[in-house]
């Protein structure tokens, strides 16, 4: 294994230029294009894989931000997504119809305008939940100075509890957000795209760009990056790291909530273990991009999304998560710090 790592290092050393993140982006883009050509008969899979990748990205970016600041793997991220999907299901299926908001089939989409209202409400609800959980659980553990593994285990407990809560309230069956069937877009080269995917892509990209602007332009965003870099130095610079932690939870939870609703739209159904199953692609994307790096998580998520969709051409879709896992292992062997990971 170290041999493999040595070879990549040697290749890097012999390159006539300094290898940097931009080259990696290019390499990944070429890889994705190559994949596209390899499955040219099913370009459709690549395109829809990108949309799936954008949903993975929202969950994975939240997870990687939480890791960057709190230094533990937030195992409940997947179940935050499930919970988000079910809150929207409650709003769209139960609450909104009672006040006459039950329209579906907005333009080319399967859903109606109420979804546009449900998403922000769901996000706000999960933000509250995440901050409450921090105050009630994680902060207490932090103050006791517990091992980081304990924090990860606590989040596993919260994941299971949340899933139990979902099953208790809504039962264990498969549900659907209110929808009407719509025709797919027919594009050249036999590409068929469900119109909903365009919406999913637009929402994800908007959030990713908004987050990028937040992290690079706003004072709190920069304070978050500073805390991820060096928490002690952040504190002696006057940054209240407890506030930073709340912001991190809030952003991670809002992204997870949105990802959950979008996933329910993407797969046209929701069920209690949808988020838990999504955990593997999330971890894959986070590791692939370099743990703690939000831009890496985005590239990692797109790669995982495309790879797992394209793989269904050759292998049974049941094994889709295994593809994500396989990519993760491969990356760990060749480049343990991930694509964008910093060399120590």
């Amino acid at each position: 294994m170290t041999k493999l790592a040595n070879i990549t290092q040697q290749i890097e050393r012999r390159l006539p230029f300094q290898w940097n993140a931009a080259h990696t982006v290019l390499a990944v883009a070429i890889l994705v294009l190559a994949l596209a050509f390899a499955s040219v008969i099913k370009l459709e899979l690549v395109v829809n894989g990108l949309f799936l990748g954008l949903i993975v990205a929202l969950g994975a970016i939240g997870m990687t931000l939480v890791y960057g600041i709190l230094r533990f793997a937030h195992v409940a991220q997947g179940d935050f997504m499930t919970f988000g999907a079910y809150i929207s299901f409650f709003l769209l299926g139960t609450l909104f119809p009672k006040i006459g908001m039950d329209s579906t089939g907005l333009g080319p989409f399967t859903f109606g305008y109420p979804l546009l209202i449900a998403i922000p409400i769901t996000a706000a609800a999960l933000v509250c939940l995440a901050v409450l959980l921090d105050v009630a659980v994680y902060r207490r553990l932090r103050r006791r100075g517990v091992n980081l593994v304990v924090l990860a285990m606590a989040s596993l407990g919260i994941a299971i509890a949340l899933r139990g809560l979902v099953q208790l309230i809504w039962g264990g069956g498969t549900e659907q957000l209110p929808r009407v069937s719509k025709y797919f877009y027919q594009l050249p080269m036999d590409v068929r795209i469900p119109p909903d995917n365009i919406f999913i892509g637009a929402v994800s990209l908007t959030l990713v760009v908004a987050l990028y602007l937040f992290l690079t332009r706003s004072k709190m965003g920069k304070a978050m990056r500073a805390t991820a870099d060096n928490p002690e130095l952040a504190r002696v610079s006057g940054i209240n790291t407890e506030h930073v932690i709340w912001w991190t939870w809030a952003i991670g939870a809002a992204l997870a909530a949105t990802a959950g609703v979008l996933l329910a739209v993407f797969q046209a159904q929701l069920f209690p273990i949808m988020g838990w199953r999504f955990l593997l692609p999330l971890f894959g994307a986070v590791v692939l991009g370099g743990v703690g790096n939000p831009y890496g998580a985005l590239v990692g998520a797109l790669t995982i999304g495309v790879a797992s969709e394209v793989s269904t051409e050759w292998i049974n879709p049941t094994y889709k998560p295994a593809v994500a896992f396989g990519i993760m292992i491969l990356v760990l062997l060749i480049r343990p710090r991930g694509i964008f990971g910093v060399r120590d």
């Binding site: 004072k219 990056r225 500073a226 870099d229 002690e232 130095l233 006057g238 940054i239 790291t241 910093v342």
Partner: protein
Amino acid sequence: MALLEASSLVAGYDETEVLHGVSVSIESGEIVTIIGPNGSGKSTLLKTLMGLLRPKSGSVRFNGEELVGVPPEKIVRKGLCYVPQTANIFPTMTIKENLEMGGFLRRDDLETRIEEVYSLFPDLTSRRKERASRLSGGQRQMLALARALMLDPVLLLLDEPTAGLAPNMVASVLDRVTSINATGVAVLLVEQNAREALKRSARGYVLAAGQNRLDANGQDLLDNPEVTRLYLGG
């Protein structure tokens, strides 16, 4: 009244006690150097003064105000800034962003202060958009100092700013400390390069095994045969 008066500090990590009753005082505008062998508690002392460690007993008074129990993010507001020995910059952020974080508590005149600090450290000016991790060792220390100056501190706590630097950089960094001091900033300096540091200091303390061993003015410590033998290499 001394600017900073720490008395009988007992502090350490979890089970291990490192400081067994250390006292130091700093007057406004002076440079005070702390020397002592490895493990004598110099860094622990600075961390305790800055609120990163809570002492088991003892007191820290800054301008007459008790600092024990005040978190570091509040202590900086009082005019006490700290440069750790290692990990003293934000490596993935740009030079300019590092300075912005140093001035996190400033409200309106952040840009003006950044320009002032650039003028003190001209090497950094041309590289403001670069990631801090790309800086060389000496420039890194300059950035660390620059970050800590962003809030116009009354007292600067420096933990071995010359550690690991080439000999020619040592003098250059310490000269910078002297010129910062000339603007009225008091400096508490922990140093391995004891001779260079004491030359520039009004007073010095010798710590050994978590206790005060000696304190005197800088020149007297340099002339002291025991100090020479133990800490100044002959």
